[in-house]
Symmetry: C2
Subunit: 114 residues, 2 copies
């Protein structure tokens, strides 16, 4: 569970930046080289590479260098793990409403009997 | 769209911390006072209040002070907005697979004709 929590920290931190979210969105359409990925962003390559590093260490993307070209791919399973956290929250809400439902049914029953 | 992006930055930043995620999870069960929320965490109140401030400015929670008690509530609609980003990514993947499907069908057609 500790690992899940640590990986959520990294994933959400990585997603808290518009450039990094744009890279994730681009990689959803398929693998791409660093050069291709950097193109839409005006800033210099060094600052872009920092974003790639954050994304890689969060586990949301992987990269491989062949010759002179480093290609990035999305690690969907790790993005899905972050999304899972939202599902868990919804389960908490659902169980809360279920309890409220039971309470209301119970109260209604008491009223009907009176 | 700029506002959506800015609010995503804030929401994901807020979620990148285990204490803040635990507060969100607790508030999913219903509103709670700062005192109740702070209880499970060993650290001092000032550092806990910083987390509450981050959560409030991200829009994920709201708080109201009545008398001496400040009560926090979850703003589910803003949590849902962050979750929506994941749905958008999935739509990108789905359209990609659809394109691949069409390509494969097209290639199969060409093969059948040859």
């Amino acid at each position: 569970m500790e690992n899940y929590s640590t990986s959520l920290n990294g994933a959400f931190h990585a997603l808290a930046d518009p450039t990094r979210r744009a890279v994730i969105a681009r990689l959803g359409r398929g693998p791409a080289s660093i050069k291709e990925l950097a193109e839409p962003f005006g800033g210099g390559l060094p600052s872009f590479l920092k974003h790639i590093k954050v994304l890689e260490s969060s586990g949301l993307i992987a990269s491989e260098k062949v010759g002179r070209v480093r290609t990035c791919t999305l690690r969907r399973e790790n993005l899905a793990a972050a999304e899972k956290w939202f599902d868990e929250q919804r389960a908490v809400w659902a169980s809360r409403y279920e309890n409220l439902d039971q309470l209301l049914t119970h109260l209604k029953g008491e009223n009907d009997e009176s």
